[in-house]
Every structure is written in structure tokens, then in C-alpha cells.
């Protein structure tokens, strides 16, 4: 399942992206660098303010939101991916590429990648994980009941999925199986964006 992405759908925000997987449609926008409120100011670092706005309801800060149930874990990977794409669109300096993914485990121990709503409701545990392109685990949120071995199984699969999203498309492994199982969607998106961004140079 390749998520649907559109770059820079908004005019006013410095960077924006809309991201649509089989659970949520998320619109992310980034403004920066901008003046920060005095109380949030950090002497040597950039201060980052994150706001979450549900379609129905008031704006929340993530700290409040994280105390939620399974559904909230379900939304996390989409939020991370959307935010990353918006940051890229805004041209803000980033240290690494990030991809997040969602896994659910059913009662019978079947691992499901990027579940749909039905699978999310019927699962035993749900895990949201994000990896950087260097293989660092950046996000690890789980809900439900699961043994340690199951978490390890998820972590292993999630790492593969995240790497697949960023993998270079020219690799031989793509040809090996005959069928491309996981498309490097993030790389495609970023490459496409970069191509569009320099298109003016080629036409002149």
C-alpha cells in the first residue's frame, strides 16, 4: 500500500504536505524559522512547537494526545510521515530522513503492515515505529497486550518496511524477486519533488 502524497497544497505556510494512508488523511504545514515566544526560547537550539488539530474538536498539544488509546497509536505514523514531508517541502535543514510505519498483530499472531480500520479494531496489539535512514529507532509506541518476542518481530519487520520506503530504486534486489513487494515510496516522492524543484533550470 503506497500512501498518497501531495506536496505543497497550501500557499501561505512555508512548507506543507498532505498524506493519505488507508486510515487517515493528514494535512501538515510547517512555518519556520520564525520568532519564538520568550518562554519557549532555547539558547542554543531551535524550539519546535507542534499542534494537532482533529477535523472535529479543538487543537491539542501532543503531550495531551499521547495518553490516548489504540486509535492514537494508529495515527502516529501518518503524523510523522506527513510532518517529515512538510519539513522537506519547507526547505528546513534536517539531520536525517524519517519513515514511520504501523503494524498490528492479530490474536493468531499474524503481523499486518499498514492495517486498515477493520484490522486496527480487531487486532490484539498495535505498534507504531519510526526509523531514520541510519537505522536508528526514533519512535516506539505500542498498545495492547503482547510478549517481548512479538515486539521484536514487529521491530524487525518495521525496520525492513522503513528501509524499503527509502531504498534506492536502482538496487538489484528489486529485480531479484521478479515482483516488487514494497515500493520505495518516500524516495520516489522526494526524487520527484527534487526534479520539479530544479525543472526551471533545465528549461532555461
Amino acid at each position: 500500500m503506497v500512501p498518497e502524497v501531495s506536496h505543497h497544497p497550501l500557499h501561505r505556510a512555508d512548507g506543507s504536505a498532505s498524506y493519505c494512508n488507508n486510515l487517515f488523511t493528514i494535512l501538515a504545514s510547517v512555518n519556520g524559522p520564525i520568532e519564538v515566544q520568550r518562554r519557549d526560547e532555547l539558547a542554543e537550539e531551535a524550539a519546535i512547537a507542534v499542534n494537532l488539530r482533529p477535523a472535529a474538536g479543538i487543537t491539542k498539544t501532543p503531550a495531551l494526545r499521547m495518553q490516548g488509546a489504540v486509535r492514537d497509536v494508529g495515527v502516529l505514523p501518518g503524523l510523522v510521515n506527513a510532518a517529515f514531508l512538510a519539513l522537506v517541502d519547507g526547505g528546513l535543514r534536517l539531520d536525517c530522513s524519517v519513515v514511520a510505519t504501523l503494524f498490528t498483530v492479530t490474536d493468531s499472531g499474524v503481523y499486518e503492515e499498514e492495517p486498515d480500520e477493520k484490522q486496527l479494531v480487531g487486532c490484539k496489539s498495535v505498534h507504531a515505529m519510526a526509523y531514520s535512514h541510519r537505522g536508528e529507532l526514533l519512535l516506539n509506541e505500542s498498545a495492547g497486550r503482547f510478549p517481548w518476542s512479538e515486539w521484536e518481530g514487529v521491530a524487525e519487520r518495521a525496520e525492513k518496511t522503513c528501509f524499503a520506503a527509502m531504498a534506492s530504486a536502482t538496487g538489484d534486489e528489486e529485480m531479484a524477486g521478479g515482483v516488487v513487494e514494497k515500493s520505495p515510496w518516500l524516495r520516489h516522492e522526494l526524487e520527484e519533488r527534487a526534479r520539479v524543484a530544479v525543472a526551471w533550470r533545465e528549461t532555461t
Binding site: 497550501l10 500557499h11 504545514s29 512555518n31 520564525i34 499542534n51 488539530r53 479543538i58
Partner: protein
Amino acid sequence: MPSEVTPSTNNHDFILTALRQNLRLDSRPLDTYRPIDLTFSSDPDTYGQTDVRIGKTRVLCNISCEVGAPYPDRKFDGVFTISCELGPMGSPAWEVGRQDQTEIILSRILEKTVRRSGALDTESLCIVAGQKCFHLRADIHILDHDGNVLDAACFALMAALLHFRRPDVSIEGEEVTVYSVREREPVKLTMTHHPFCITTSFYPSRQGSDDDLISVLDTTLQEEQCRTGSLTISLNRHGEVCNIAKYGGVGIEGLSVLTCVNASLEKAKMFDRLLKERLAEDEKARQAKIGAMGLELSAENERVMERPVG
């Protein structure tokens, strides 16, 4: 804290001089709106979600409802709230948790135009008098701010209200059953009339004089920052005025208010026509989607039509 970039004196003077010569930066006449686009959610089970674009201004409205208790002093009415919280998505100058002038004006005018004018019949939201009713909530999200947010927000809200369907309910004694969209066809809201907001902005036609004013419709953000006053008229297509709000220091004569109302009526009719058109289109598209599935869901046996004897 970031604030909106105000146009420089040169910019300001340029816009004013151009307006005095009946010219605008985007080359449209003074009484014309930018292209208006209205889209509904493509999911056939989602009702009451509208995305309105007027030029680069973009507003999203989402209607949701749940069952709750009515206010004790209004036993026969449902609850209807409009929430328009501005966030940094629309403009970096808008902060979460800090009420901006735009936000106050927006919520106040929408409240008066839609809620207090009785556009929505709240009595139809009542389920059991004094005990259960529908809480209807309209969330307005300004995604892009390029002027004339008020007209766009009002249009999005009206479109969403007309598009929204609440779940059907059945009452047996004290027991209330709320049916899902799949179980029973959801019910449209009862609307008594369809008001729209039309904002006219005023500019001095001569330097330092407020006697003669140029009126301009659907201003962009830049034009909005240069205006000396504005008049927001809320009215429906029959010309029934629900609210007139005047902002800015400049004085406006009674006669020009009447002229504005007449000009606004034309625009209200235009909004109404556009809305009806889009609603009909959406209805058709939904019917086509449901039609394909309705065939599968149908429990009816195929009947062989026998030829009548003779």
C-alpha cells in the same frame, strides 16, 4: 511572535492608485469574486465536510454530531456550536491559544449569521424533550488565508450544513436507538433559509478625504490590509438581511449601505446557485456509487417475467 507582513508605503499607494483607476492586481473588476470552488468529501459515507476555495483562500468545514443532553432552559432544542479556531496553518501570524481580532470577528459574525438568524432549525435536533438531543458541532479550519476569509467561511459552513446528514433515530418509550449510516438512510438537517456573508471593502477615492468611497468586493489579503473600512452583510437569496457589521473607522452613508445591500444580493444569489448546483452534482455522484453497491446489497430475488398468455 510573528505578525502579518504589512504592505510597504509604496505597495499601499500603488494598490490605492490602481483601485482609483478601477484596476486590481489580479485584473478583475472591482465587483467580482475570484474563482470559487466547492468540493465535498469523496467518501460516500462522510457527510458535511466541505472544502471551499476562493482564489488562494481555502477554508475547510467539518460538521459532526453526537447525542447528549439539551440545555435545561431549552428543553425542545438541540445544541449547535460553531468553532472557528485559527491556527498557524492559515497564516503564521495566527497562534494557537491566542485569540486574534480576525478570529473574534469571524466567530461573532458566523454566530449571528447562521445561528441567531435561525438558519438551522434546532428543534429538529431534539430527540426526547429535556433528556436527549443532538449536539451539532461545526469546525471551521482556515487552511490558507489570502483575504476574504469571512465570506469563504460562511459559504463553507452553509454548504456543510446543507450537505450534512445526521443518523436516523427511533424512540420506543425511553429507549432511543441511533442507527448507523449503513443501517438506515441518514436524515438531512432542517434548514429554514440559506444566508451568506458578503464583505464589501472601502477605499478613499481621494487622498485624505472620506466623503467619496470606492467599494470593492472579495479583497485579497494585500487589498484587505490597505482598506479603510469594511461592511459585512449577511443575507439570503430573497434579500432578507440577517446582519450588517461595519468595521474600520470610516463613516458610511445610509444610501451607500442600501447600494451595498443590493450589490450583495446579487452575490448571495450567485453563492446560492453555485451551492445548489454543487449539491446536486454531489448527490448524483453519490447515487451512482451507491447504485453500484445497492445492486449487490439487494435481497430481492430476480423474477422471471412470464409472458402473458394470449
